[in-house]
Each structure stands twice: as C-alpha cells, then as structure tokens.
C-alpha cells in the first residue's frame, strides 16, 4: 500500500465525493432501466419537480430543513468518533417535548414565549433521549450503535403508547393529539415574505429553516472554535491522545451525544411546530436515518451538510413527482438512491482513493519528466 501516493486535498474533498455520488446515481439509473423506464426522463422529472414547478422550491427547502438538523446531529457525534444512529428516536422524542409544551400551555402563553419554550423542550427531550446510550457508552462501554438502535424502537413504543392513550384527541380513534392553537404554530415563509411584499407559492417551508441555518453556524463555532469542540475532535482522532492531554473522556462523550440528540430533536420543530401542528405517529419518516447519508456526504462539515441536505431535499421533493408521472417508479426509488449513496459515499468511500491518487500523481509528474 505504501506505493500509493497521497491524494491531494482538493481531490479528497471535492473530486472523490462527486465521483462516488455519480457512481451511486449511475447505478440508480441502471435500476430505473431494469424496471423498464427511461432514467433520463426520471432525472428530468425529478429536477423539474424539485425546483421548477410552482411551490416546489419551498417543498425542497422544507425537506432540506429536516436533513440539516439530522445531518448536523450525526456529524457532531461523529467528530467524537461516536456513531449516533438514534437520530430517528431522538427526533421522535424531541417532538414529544415540543408537543407536550404546546398541549399544556397553548391556551395561556403568547406565541413569542410559547414557541421558544417548545423549541427548547424539543432540544432538551432529544438530548435526554441520547443520554442513556451516551452514559452507557461512556461508563459501561456498551456500544452506542447498538443502544441507539434499541432506543429508536423504544421511542416508537413510547410514542405509540402515549398517542393511543393519554395524548389521543378525545373522541377519535386514530392515534393523534389535538391540534395546537394558532399561537403555537411557527409562521410559514409565505406569510412572512408576504408581509414584506414578496409573493411566493404556498409550501410547508417555515421559519424553522432559519433555525436550521443558525444551527449550522452554532455547530461550526462549537466544533472548531471552542474548548469543547477541541476536546471532541481530539477524542475523535485519538482517544489515547485525548486521555493523555487531560481531556475527561466520559464527560466529553456524554456532552457530544447530548448536543447530537438535541440537534436531532430540533428536527421536530420543523415537522411538529412548523407543519403538522399536532403530534402524530411516525412524523420522523426516516429523516433521522437520512441524516447519516447527509453527514457522510457532507464530510461532517456544516457547509457540506447544507449542500448534501439540499441534494436530499431535491431528491425527496423531486421523487414525489415520480409517483405522479410513472406507473412503475414510486417514492421507494428514493430509498434505492439513498442506499446506494450511503454505500458508495460511505462504506466504499475510499475504494477509488488509490487509483485516483495514482492517476493524479501520474498526470502531475508527466510534464516535469518530459523535458528531461
């Protein structure tokens, strides 16, 4: 392996992820071809559906908001070399926190107090749900991957029990809570921009998008510009070095997981406070898992995560158009694309590293060797 020259940084950060993405999309195209449809037409419909149809951009950005939160959540834990696959459950319980605040207080508090309180509750509940796996990893050495998987299922069980029991809207049989009152609802972008004279089409895009961007800045500051972030990254690079440098490892693990869970919990702000305005089953809809793909593609950096979230937002919104246009391709095609992206950009991320490095090295050396 020592004969492989190092890959230049620009190729590692810019070129390799794009090549991996292209391979994933090409294989997805083969699947489309295999079920007897035209991949180019599918891409065309997805692009139009994601960006051009009326209101589609709003939908794309609404999905993007979810993916930014869950992607950031995965990335913060990953910087400490912790694999948090519990984003789904943490977002679910985060929604419970926000919902409980709204259901309890939406008759007495004005929106300006209630909504921030609900947002804090979402983050706190999400963080709280990550605490048990974090504590077990930090002090008992139980693998955080396994425990967060288990906690996803436990979260689902808790939510079903609560929504079918104490939280169900009286007099109905489907397990959802009552609707929150108006003052608990985060305003739509359409209303806000309409107030300053900009007309946009109706979509679920709401002010949570701004919160998501703020969360990106927060994570960037936290990870690269604070003592805590330094501790997290040191731990991620080498636990031995971290221990030797006097970093308290268990405490750092727990704090990193709490921040991660809190960010995942914030995803519920977009869904529960921004769009659904009530608690219902499965509002997380796999966004927590998609966060893993987003974080992988975005190389755990907020800028990368915003770009990857935009890509997945476009895939989700464009993918819903596939349902309407094709007989044989449905939204489930999205899962195929997502799985292939995780495979090629994640598990096989460095498969092409050695050949690419050799190629670049040979291209770089040729002009210098030529005159001699």
């Amino acid at each position: 392996m020592s004969s492989v020259p190092p890959l230049p940084r620009w190729a590692d950060v810019g070129l390799l992820p794009i090549i991996n993405l292209v391979i994933a999309l090409l294989v997805s195209g083969l699947v489309v071809l295999a079920v007897g449809e035209n991949p180019l037409r599918a891409i065309d419909i997805m692009l139009q559906g994601a960006f051009l149809y009326e209101g589609s951009l709003g939908y794309t950005l609404y999905y993007t908001t979810n993916f930014i939160f869950t992607g950031l959540a995965v990335s913060v834990a990953f910087h400490a070399l912790l694999f948090n696959i519990g984003g789904e459950g943490q977002a679910y319980i985060g929604g419970l926190g926000a919902g409980l605040v709204c259901l309890a207080l939406d008759a007495v508090l004005p929106g300006l107090v209630l909504i921030p309180l609900a947002i804090v509750a979402a983050a706190a509940f999400g963080a709280g749900w990550a605490l048990a796996p974090a504590w077990l990893q930090a002090y008992r050495g139980s693998h955080v991957v396994i425990t967060t998987i288990m906690f996803n299922f436990i979260a689902a069980g808790v939510m079903v029990s609560l929504l079918a029991g104490p939280l169900i809207k009286p007099g109905q049989s489907s397990p959802t809570s009552r609707r929150f009152s108006e003052n608990a609802q985060i305003p739509d972008m359409q209303e806000i921009l309409g107030a300053v004279g900009i007309e946009i089409a109706r979509s679920p895009l709401n002010l949570s998008f701004v919160l998501a961007i703020a969360a990106c800045v927060f994570v960037w500051l936290l990870i690269w510009h604070t003592r805590f972030g330094y501790a997290v990254r040191t731990l991620g690079h080498s636990p031995q070095a971290a221990a030797y440098a006097g970093i308290r490892i268990p405490r750092t693990i727990i704090a990193a997981m709490a921040v991660s869970g809190g960010l995942a919990g914030l995803m519920a702000v977009n869904e529960v406070l921004g769009v659904q305005h009530r608690l219902l089953l499965n509002f997380t809809a796999g966004y927590g898992f998609t966060g893993i793909a987003v974080s992988l593609m975005g190389r755990n950096h907020p800028i990368g995560i915003v770009l990857a979230s935009l890509l997945f937002g476009a895939l989700y919104q464009g993918g819903s158009e596939l349902d309407l246009e094709f007989q044989t391709i449905t939204r489930d095609m999205l899962l195929v694309i997502q799985g292939l992206i995780i495979l090629f950009s994640g598990a096989l991320a460095y498969m092409l590293n050695p050949p690419l490095a050799r190629l670049i090295a040979s291209l770089a050396h040729r002009p210098r060797e030529a005159p001699a």
Partner: protein
C-alpha cells in the same frame, strides 16, 4: 384440559412460529460477528430474501425454488457487505445501513415492476408455500392426558423450516466449537493477527462467515413470505432483523443462549398479540405496546452490565490490515 392451559399452549405454539425467523437471523449474526464483522444488515437480508422467496415461488410455482432464490439473494447481499467491509475495510455500520435501506427500496421497486400490486407479490397457492407437517401419531395421541395435547398442538403441525431452526442451533454450536472452520472463525474475531501469522487468510475466513450468515438469513426470509405468510408484503421484516440482533447480543454471542433469547422475545410477541384489550386486576388494560419493546429494553439493560456481562468478540468492527 382447562381453557387457561389451552390458551397457554396456543401462545407457546405461536412463540415457536414467531421465534423461527429470529433464530435463523440470530445465528446468522452470530457467525458474522464471531468472525469480527458487525452485521446490522440482518434486517435488510431478511427483507430482501423474503421478497425473493415470495416472487420466485409465485413465478415458478415451487416453494423450493423460492427458498433457493432467497438464499441466493441473501448471500449476494452478504457479499456486498463483505466487499465493503472486508475487501475495502469500509465502516461496517455504514455498510450494513446501506444494505438495509437498499433492501427497503429495491424490494418495493422491483415488486411493483414485476407484479403491479403496490409492492406485494400475489397470494401464494398451496404448492408455493411450506405446509404444516403432522408428526406421527399426533391425532392418535391428542386424546392422551396432558402430554397428548402438548404433542398435538405444540410439537406437531409446524412448517419444515420451524423444525430446521431448532436443528440449526445445535448444528451451529457444533460447527463453532468442534470444527476447524468454527475454531478459526472464532479466532479471527478475537485476534486476526494470530490467525494471519498461522498462515490462514483472514479475508477468506471472514467472507465464508458472512456467506454462512447470508444462507441463514435467506432461510429466515423464505420462512416469512412462504411459510409464516402467504406472499411478500412491503416492509414485512418489520424490525425482526434488529430483534434478532438484540437476541444475539442478549445471548452473549452464543448459540444456545441466543436460542433462549429468541424464544423469550418470540413469547413476548405472541403473548402481547393475545393480550390486546385484555383487562387485568390492578394494572388495568395489558400494556401490549410496551411488551413489544421489552426485548430492546432488556437488551440495553444487559449491555449495561447490570445482570451478567455481554462481551463482544474483541476484534468486532475493526478492519484487519495485513502487516507487510
């Protein structure tokens, strides 16, 4: 025989049926993880092979062709996982996750393309499904006191794959503890350097381990769609792969203990579906939703080391880099 005892018997009967896919999957996870490869893709392999079995049985009209296809599909999914984790030393969790998500998407996409039924396969006829096997003298002995009904209801009348699951456990234990392959497989999960320095190929051993895992998951998938059910329905694995993973951990990576965990988790599922809406004194309506998550809670508590200690193979999750 009292009504209550009869109900218990029926619940235990259902336990065996529900535990069967868990047993195959837990053994699959065991082979993979004892060799050092984390396998959270049990769920995806279970789903993929359930689809393959349902689709092929429906097209060919033969349940055994379905089983063969299920095993084939599951092995190829194992090989994808192996290619990423063994050959390219990719992250085993990420690779497993990719397999799971791919399985969710591909089964429905291909199902719609093949059968135009929203991702389901057509309902399977008698030749396309495994049929119950009546053990000898079941009818004759049914009237015997006590043991008669137990033999007739509980032991007899299951599908072939149920009996196979209970044969697979001692077989797996035997392979892991008494054969050269099993001993080397366990060694490679604890100390791959030692195996390598003995001149045995670490990658080839691990590939064989994930192939065995593929075969076992394939049988479990075929059981879901062609024995337990009568055709494939979307997301039919419904988290069973993860419960099996939990059972394997709960069983401390050992075949017999894993069997016990599978039976326990199967019993919880069987009991909870019988207790829906049943009122109890003091606690009121049975908390069936919470009973269904009890396997996960128990596994977490076990992992926390509060009763017994679950020690994973020491090289689990670490890719092996050969020294030069």
């Amino acid at each position: 025989m009292s009504e209550f005892a009869f109900q218990i018997l029926l619940t235990l009967d259902a336990t065996l049926r529900l535990a069967t896919p868990l047993i195959f999957c837990a053994l699959a996870g065991l082979f993979s993880e004892r060799s050092g490869i984390i396998d959270i893709s049990l769920e995806g392999k279970l789903l993929g092979s359930a689809f393959a079995a349902g689709a092929v049985a429906s097209v060919t009209g033969s349940v055994y062709m379905g089983l063969l296809a299920a095993v084939g599909v599951s092995i190829s999914m194992s090989l994808v996982h192996g290619f990423a984790c063994i050959t390219h030393r990719g992250n085993q969790i990420i690779s497993g996750l990719a397999v799971n998500i791919l399985a969710s998407g591909l089964t429905v996409t291909l199902g719609i393309a093949l059968f135009q039924r929203g991702g389901q396969t057509p309902t399977l006829g008698p030749n396309e499904r495994f049929q119950p096997i009546e053990l000898p003298f079941a009818d004759a002995l049914a009237q015997a006191p006590l043991l008669g009904p137990v033999y007739d209801e509980l032991v007899s009348g299951h599908k072939l794959l149920v009996y196979l699951a209970f044969i697979a456990v001692p077989l797996a234990a035997l392979v892991l503890t008494r054969t050269r392959f099993g001993l080397r497989l366990r060694a490679v999960g604890e100390s791959p350097e030692a195996v390598d320095s003995a001149g045995v190929s670490v990658p080839w051993l691990r590939y064989r381990a994930v192939i065995v895992a593929g075969i076992l998951c394939g049988i479990a998938g075929a059981y879901l769609s062609t024995a337990h059910g009568a055709g494939f329905i979307r997301e039919m694995s419904a988290g069973k792969g993860y419960i099996a993973l939990a059972a394997m951990i709960f069983g401390k990576w050992r075949p017999w203990s894993a069997l016990f965990a599978c039976l326990l988790f199967g019993f919880l599922e069987a009991a909870s579906s019988r207790l829906i809406g049943v009122e109890f004194p003091i606690i009121g309506e049975a908390p069936t939703n919470l009973m269904l998550v009890l396997p996960y809670i128990m596994t977490v508590v076990l992992l926390a080391g509060f009763f017994g200690r679950a020690e994973a193979p020491s090289a689990l999750g670490t890719p092996y880099v050969k020294e030069h």
